[in-house]
Amino acid sequence: MAYFDAASAEPLHRSGREALLAALDEGWADPARLHREGRRAQLLLDQAREATAAELGCRPDELSFTSSGTQAVHLAVLGAVQARQSAARGPGHLVESAVEHSSVLAAADWLARRTGTAVTITGVDQAGRADVTEFAAAVQRDRTLLACLQSANQEVGTLQPVAEVTAACLDSGVPLLVDIAASAGRMPVPGGWALLTASARKWGGPAGVGVLAVRKGTRWREPFPADDRENRRVPGFPNVPAVLAAAASLTAVSRERGSTDTALRALVDRIRSEVPRTVPDSVVHGDPAARLPHIVTFSCLYVDGEALVTELDRAGFSVSSGSACAAGSGQPSHVLAAMGALTHGNVRVSLPRDVSAAAVSEFLDALPPIVARVRDTVRAGTAAAPASDPRSPDPRGAVKRPGR
């Protein structure tokens, strides 16, 4: 069995697991209380905050723990925009790339519907890289209150031009939200951000922990009913054991990055070169060089993505897919669509840190016959489609010559 969906959730790092088990005994109390147990929990929370802030390049008081990456993004977008909206400015304008995580797109859409904020979604190239010129031009529009650009794409791994966009944002006095969920613990954190968001389960921490950092001097206002927790940025009692485990994992994976990334890059390079060679009518997406170390995504023509994921799972390989048929929403990947890439027959392979070269070899051996089998099934289904009958309404799937 091989788990290749680390971009959704990296298995919990052993350092995080040890910290979690220890903290369940030591850090269960309410850290806001003054009694001994509360002080102990507060001490652990402070340690976690300092360690995480050090890894992410911010001050501890700039960093708040959330209950997920999605919650961090929602708080970042809503809090930054609503703090800068005014009677004079009006509902303002927000800029985001077309390939941001769905949580960014959803928060912007929510603002548009609830407060009338204008939203500009800027394009990407065929590799999924944001168009800097288009993005910078959009940022320069009047009353732009926030710009959002991820550090790297979660589906195809392409790195984004954050440094170039940062310059445009600084010139225009527009705060930049950089969502580093896909790259945290795997790449250096880009500079120039005003708001930063991440998700612990993607770096090898536990599920249920996200990170929101608001750079000192950035205007931000709590968008929901205020709460004293987490610098008044996040409502609710923090999960101290999980937060401590997230911090321990981040410290460990950052320390190990030099060795793991080299190995992951080589394995991804191998998948990128072998799949188009061994699987007919397949195409690999994303930038081949300027990319995350562990993600590779490809699509196979004439293949049912859901069936492909199911067959791979049956063969012992856990992968994800951006195909509409494999998505709970029934919609194809907005990332692939923005890139103009094939959305069906899509597979995302994201390698965990402890993946073996043998597991990747087994996957590469298993993939071509599985794709061929799924294709045969699809073709058999189309061959069984009803023939066109000129006396009856056009059956679906039938070709007809239109009347002239």
């Binding site: 699509s299 509409a324 194809p332 103009g340 239109p402």
Partner: protein, 82 residues
């Protein structure tokens, strides 16, 4: 679609109600049954059909003349090039 006159389809392929990858599979089969220069109109409701037909025509060299949407139905016009 551009402002240019809309080409008249020589054949229509109705794939409404079908999920990916059937619209692309059936299009690849149907395009082989028309002559080079002729136009196929694909009708489909699958939400992935727009990016997929762009990618498919780009890969196969057939010409994507335009994609229009009426309600839930995408009308995709493709000219066979060879």
């Amino acid at each position: 679609m551009s402002d240019a006159p809309v080409p008249v389809a020589d054949q229509v392929l109705d794939c409404t109600g079908m999920a990916c990858p059937l619209p692309v599979v059936k299009t690849s089969q149907a395009i082989k049954k028309i002559e080079a220069g002729q136009v196929l109109e694909l009708l489909a409701t699958d939400p992935g059909v727009e990016p997929d037909m762009k990618a498919w025509t780009g890969r196969t060299g057939n010409e994507l003349l335009g994609i229009a949407r009426e309600g839930d139905v995408f009308h995709v016009l493709i000219r066979r090039t060879r």
